[in-house]
C-alpha cells in the first residue's frame, strides 16, 4: 500500500505537539586531558563507576577511574574528535547493546552497529553489557550434550550445554578451526536442539574476520550465527567490551529458552586490551603488567555461561573461550587464570599439529569437568575406554622406540593405539553427525580396524560412511536418534560393520 503523504505529516505533527520542550538539564564536566583513547575530566562530581558519558561529536566514553579531582574515562570512539576544554555530559546510563532476532546472521560492532553493509538492525530490546551472572537458584546442572561434530572432542572431552570449555594452544594449532567446526556442526542438528551461535572476534585482523564470515556463509552457518567484531585497529575500549557485548546478545536468546553457543576468540587479546587501558589510566600494574583485577575481568564474563532452570525457560549459554599461549606455556598468567575459571580445556599442541595429527588435541592434558554427565550414553559407551587406550599407547610407544622386544599384549595395544590415533584425525569443516561418530569409533574400539593397515584407516572411515549412507541409512538414522546403546542397536551396528568388512578392499 502506498503511503499517503498526509499520514506522515499527521504523525510528525503529533510528534511535534507532544514534544517535550522542558529544559534540558545535565551534569557536566570539562576535558582537561585527552590522548591514547583516554580522557581525564574535571567536574562530573556525581558520576558513577562504568557510567556512560557523552563527549559530543558522537563520541561516548565510560567513566572508569573516579579520582580525587578528576574522572578517568575511556573513549569509545576516535580521540581526535575530543579536545581539551570540551564539555562532557553525564548520561545516567550504563553501556548497553541493542539486541533482537534481527541481529542473527549479521556482523556487528561491540556497540551494536552493523558492519556488514546490510542495513540497519531493528532492535527489540537494549541489554546492558555488564550484568551479574545468574545465581545458583536460577540454574540447573549441565546435562545436555553440545555436539561439536569433532570425533576427538565429542568422545573424550565432551561439552555440555551451559559449560565453559577453554580452547588453548599456540598460534597455528587450529584453535579457531575447532570453534568454527562446532558452529558449522549446528547445521547437522535438528532445529529444536540447535544452538544460536555467536562468534566474538577480539583484536583480530579484519582479513581474518572476513575469512571467518565467508567460511560461515559458505557453509550456511550464518543463518543462525552472529559475529561481533572488534578488530586490531579498533580502540582498546571496544576490544574490552566486545566479549561482554557478545555475551549480552547471547543472554537475550538464553532467557527466551534458547540454547546459545558463544566463542570468544581470543581472551588473551582481551586481557591485553584491558592491560593497555589500565596502564593508561595509571592503575597499578601487577604480574606481567596486567592489573590486579584481570582475573575478575574473565571470571565475571565466563560465569555468565549457564544452564537456566526449568522455571527460567531452560535456556543455556555455552562458552568456548580461546587462549593463545606462547611456546606452549600454559603456566603463564592469563592461561592459568582462565584454566582455573573454566570447566575444562581442550589443549592443542603444535608438535602434534606438525606431525599431522589434526585436530592436534593433546588427549592427556585435555579434560572436561562437567561434560561427561552430559555425554550421550551411546557415545559414552563407545568412547569409554578410548582415553585409557590412548594414554596406555602413548606410554608404550615411548618404550617401543628403543626397539625392545614387546609381549603380545603390548604389541596389540600399540597396534590399536596407532589405529585409534589415525581414526581421530579429521579434516577441517567436516563435522560428523553423532551417529556417524558412534559408528566410526565403535569400529575402532571393537577391533574392526586391527586387521587393516594404519595408512588405510582414514580410507576405511570414508568408505564406511559412504557405504552406510548408500546401503544402511536406517542404521545410521537409528544411531543418530538412539539415546542408549541397547543390545538391538548394537546388534544392527555389528551386523552392518561385518557386512562392510566383506566389501572393503585393503590395499
Amino acid at each position: 500500500m502506498a503511503i499517503r503523504p498526509e499520514e506522515i505529516t499527521k504523525i510528525i505533527k503529533e510528534k511535534i505537539e507532544h514534544f517535550d520542550t522542558s529544559l534540558d538539564v545535565s551534569e557536566v564536566g570539562t576535558v582537561i586531558q585527552v590522548g591514547d583513547g583516554i580522557a581525564r575530566v574535571h567536574g562530573l562530581s556525581n558520576v558513577k563507576a562504568s557510567e556512560l558519558v557523552d563527549f559530543g561529536h558522537g563520541v561516548k566514553g565510560m567513566a572508569l577511574n573516579l579520582e580525587y579531582d578528576n574522572v578517568g574515562c575511556v573513549l569509545m570512539g576516535p580521540d581526535t574528535l575530543v579536545h581539551e576544554g570540551d564539555t562532557v555530559k553525564r548520561t545516567g546510563e550504563v553501556i548497553s547493546i541493542p539486541v533482537g532476532k534481527g541481529v542473527i546472521g549479521r556482523v556487528v560492532s561491540p556497540l551494536g552497529k552493523p558492519l556488514d553493509g546490510k542495513g540497519e538492525i531493528a532492535p527489540e530490546k537494549n541489554m546492558p553489557l555488564d550484568i551479574v551472572a545468574p545465581g545458583i537458584i536460577d540454574r540447573q546442572p549441565v546435562k545436555q550434550p553440545l555436539q561439536t561434530g569433532i570425533k576427538a572432542i565429542d568422545s573424550m572431552v565432551p561439552i555440555g550445554k551451559g559449560q565453559r570449555e577453554l580452547i588453548i594452544g599456540d598460534r597455528q594449532t587450529g584453535k579457531t578451526a575447532i570453534a568454527i567446526d562446532a558452529i558449522i556442526n549446528q547445521k547437522n542438528i535438528p532445529q529444536e536442539e540447535r544452538c544460536i551461535c555467536i562468534y566474538v572476534a577480539v583484536g583480530q585482523k579484519q582479513s581474518t574476520v572476513a575469512q571467518v564470515v565467508k567460511t560461515l556463509t559458505d557453509f550456511g552457518a550464518m543463518d543462525y550465527t552472529v559475529v561481533v567484531s572488534a578488530t586490531a585497529s579498533d580502540p582498546a575500549s571496544l576490544l574490552y567490551i566486545a566479549p561482554y557485548a557478545g555475551c549480552a546478545i547471547g543472554e537475550y536468546f538464553m532467557w527466551q529458552g534458547k540454547d546459545v553457543l558463544i566463542v570468544y576468540d581470543d581472551l588473551s587479546k582481551h586481557a591485553q586490551a584491558y592491560r593497555e587501558m589500565s596502564l593508561l589510566l595509571r592503575r597499578p600494574p601487577g604480574r606481567e603488567a596486567y592489573p590486579g583485577d584481570v582475573f575478575y575481568l574473565h571470571s565475571r564474563l565466563l560465569e555468565r555461561a549457564c544452564k537456566l532452570s526449568k522455571e527460567n525457560g531452560g535456556g543455556s549459554l555455552t562458552a568456548l573461550p580461546i587462549i593463545e599461549t606462547q611456546a606452549n606455556d600454559v603456566s603463564a598468567y592469563i592461561p592459568t587464570n582462565v584454566i582455573s575459571i573454566t570447566d575444562g580445556q581442550i589443549y592443542l599442541e603444535s608438535n602434534l599439529f606438525l606431525s599431522g595429527i589434526k585436530p592436534a588435541v593433546n588427549v592427556g592434558l585435555s579434560v572436561s569437568r562437567v561434560g561427561g554427565s552430559a555425554q550421550r550414553k551411546t557415545m559414552r559407551k563407545v568412547a569409554g575406554t578410548l582415553r585409557i587406550d590412548l594414554s596406555q599407547y602413548q606410554e608404550l610407544a615411548g618404550f617401543a622406540q628403543f626397539g625392545s622386544e614387546l609381549d603380545k599384549e603390548s604389541q596389540r595395544q600399540i597396534a590399536r593405539g596407532k589405529r585409534m590415533t589415525e581414526l581421530l584425525k579429521q579434516n577441517q569443516y567436516a563435522p560428523l553427525k553423532v551417529g556417524e561418530e558412534v559408528l566410526v569409533l565403535y569400529a575402532g574400539t571393537h577391533g574392526y580396524l586391527d586387521e587393516i593397515e594404519v595408512t588405510d584407516v582414514l580410507r576405511y572411515e570414508k568408505e564406511l560412511l559412504a557405504y552406510m549412507h548408500a546401503q544402511k541409512q536406517d542404521v545410521l538414522d537409528g544411531l543418530n536418534a538412539a539415546v542408549e546403546l541397547t543390545p538391538e542397536v548394537e546388534n544392527t551396528l555389528k551386523g552392518a560393520l561385518d557386512e562392510f568388512k566383506t566389501v572393503f578392499k585393503p590395499a
Partner: protein, 175 residues
C-alpha cells in the same frame, strides 16, 4: 597542570582560606593574596629560579611585601616547599573558596544575541532561585544557539537553546 599539582594547589588554598575565621577576614586575606600575587608577578621568574638560595628569595619578599604579612608568610612557605609555580592556581582556588563563603556561584550564560540589562538581571535571578545562591554570571554570545539560552552553573548545564531543542526534535522524528 597534572592531577598531583591540582590536588596540591587545592590543599594550599584550603590552608590559606582556613586562616580566616570570619567572612571579613577571608575577604581581606584574599585581597592581600591578590595584591601580593600582582606585586611579585614581575619577579616570579627570579623567585622560581633554583639558582637563588631560599634565604635570598625571602629577603626579596620581605622587601616587596612588608605591608602584607599573611601573604608574605604564605609565599615564604611556598618557596620552602618549592611550590611557587602553583601560586596562580592557588589564588584561583582561594577565590572559589571565598565565593563559597560569600554564597556566590559563578555561572556562564550563553545566548544567541546580546541581552539587555533587564534580561541579564532576570536570568541571574532565576538561577539564584534555583541554586539558592547569589549568582555571578559571565555572559557570552554564540549565534549557533539560534535562540534561547544555556547556563552552566554548579557543574550543571541547563540547556534551553533552540539548537538543542531542534536537535531533540530531529531525533524524535527520525526515530
Amino acid at each position: 597542570m597534572n592531577a598531583q599539582n591540582r590536588i596540591a594547589a587545592a590543599r594550599y588554598a584550603a590552608a590559606y582560606d582556613g586562616l580566616s575565621q570570619t567572612l571579613e577576614q577571608a575577604e581581606q586575606n584574599a585581597q592581600e593574596l591578590a595584591t601580593a600575587t600582582h606585586i611579585i608577578n614581575d619577579v616570579a621568574e627570579v623567585l622560581q629560579s633554583p639558582g637563588l638560595p631560599a634565604a635570598q628569595k625571602k629577603l626579596i619578599l620581605n622587601e616587596a611585601l612588608h605591608e602584607l604579612p599573611k601573604a608574605r608568610a604564605f609565599i615564604s612557605v611556598l618557596i620552602d616547599a618549592k611550590r611557587l609555580n602553583l601560586l596562580g592556581a592557588i589564588y584561583e582556588h582561594v577565590q572559589t573558596l571565598l565565593e563559597d563563603r560569600q554564597g556566590i556561584s559563578r555561572a556562564i550564560i550563553t545566548t544567541a544575541r546580546v541581552l539587555s540589562n533587564a534580561q541579564r538581571a532576570s536570568a541571574q535571578e532565576a538561577l539564584s532561585i534555583r541554586y539558592g545562591k547569589t549568582i555571578q554570571a559571565d555572559f557570552e554570545v554564540d549565534p549557533a544557539l539560534l535562540g534561547g539560552l544555556t547556563a552552566q552553573c554548579n557543574g550543571e548545564l541547563l540547556d534551553g537553546s533552540l539548537k538543542t531543542r531542534l536537535e531533540k526534535l530531529r531525533q524524535a522524528i527520525t526515530k
